[in-house]
Symmetry: D2
Subunit: 106 residues, 4 copies
Amino acid sequence: MDQVIQKLRQFRDDRDWQQFHNPKDLAAALSIEASELLEVFLWKTPEEADVDRVKEELADVLAYALLLSDSYGFDIQEIILDKIRKNEQKYPVGKAKGSAKKYTEL
Amino acid sequence: MDQVIQKLRQFRDDRDWQQFHNPKDLAAALSIEASELLEVFLWKTPEEADVDRVKEELADVLAYALLLSDSYGFDIQEIILDKIRKNEQKYPVGKAKGSAKKYTEL
Amino acid sequence: MDQVIQKLRQFRDDRDWQQFHNPKDLAAALSIEASELLEVFLWKTPEEADVDRVKEELADVLAYALLLSDSYGFDIQEIILDKIRKNEQKYPVGKAKGSAKKYTEL
Amino acid sequence: MDQVIQKLRQFRDDRDWQQFHNPKDLAAALSIEASELLEVFLWKTPEEADVDRVKEELADVLAYALLLSDSYGFDIQEIILDKIRKNEQKYPVGKAKGSAKKYTEL
């Protein structure tokens, strides 16, 4: 993954784009790309969505997520594992099993 | 990263949640988490955002991105590197350097 | 406003689109259009955003908001006034004045 | 509708919030509220969504849409009618009837 992050940094720096990449705009960009990903499914059943477009839009989401993470110096594996541990508290198996409810409603 | 994906699958399966995780709802969940991440910056300068909340919300975004990717059997490093190659065509350095314009406006 | 809603219904029905317009997809469409509106501001100061594009994207947001509201038979003036009353409880002037905090943090 | 906009302005000014309400943050807030609305439908069929929550979240979306519109001095009926006229060009009945495709794919 380090090599991918390195490539993303270089793509950005070759274009002199770091000047635009403050964390607030990176978070906005990530949210916009996540909506473009959702748009691939709009008015469709899950199966009807075009897989190549899903692949490309998901790559854009991941790219901004990695750039935002990198701007804070986070280790993405570590922050995901930390969050899984927190979610195990919020969603104990006994209460959450088979339920789509939010933890605030369990 | 494989170990992280394995943990995410197990967290999901312990709670019997795969029944809810069709790709369309996963894409919606990803978009909703990306908005929660953006909310950490709302009404604030980029520097004022709470770093611990950024960390947690970004982890949620990454978790859904990995689960969606996994549901299609994508390799995330591969799809990001493919997209960087496409973006090099869309945003040639000569035209894009120092510009925040979308490729459709370059 | 009734005349505008009538025009939106007719535009939809002339194209036989009601079959796609279930409330879940309308809510997704609304969220996608709201992201397109946000994209007009991306990497920019608020003043740099193109006013004509803001106008068009905001119109799309409003169109889906009205169609979703109409599908439930809501009166938009009534639901907004109801929500203002609730927000007056959540954000009492004494506590909220001059603060950008969410009610859960006040 | 003018009376509703008047109430929204007063709610904002009683709390001294205009200082936070630049158009970029208003667009971000609108997008965040649209995601909260979408969340009411997450992991559910359209019919399973809680109508009272839809009502409240849609009211929040509309409130920010009206405040953003008001900050530019737009007339919302006029901008929607203008956009319907543009969409009639983008989606001619002959091509668009019964199709969920985007105008770029028609």
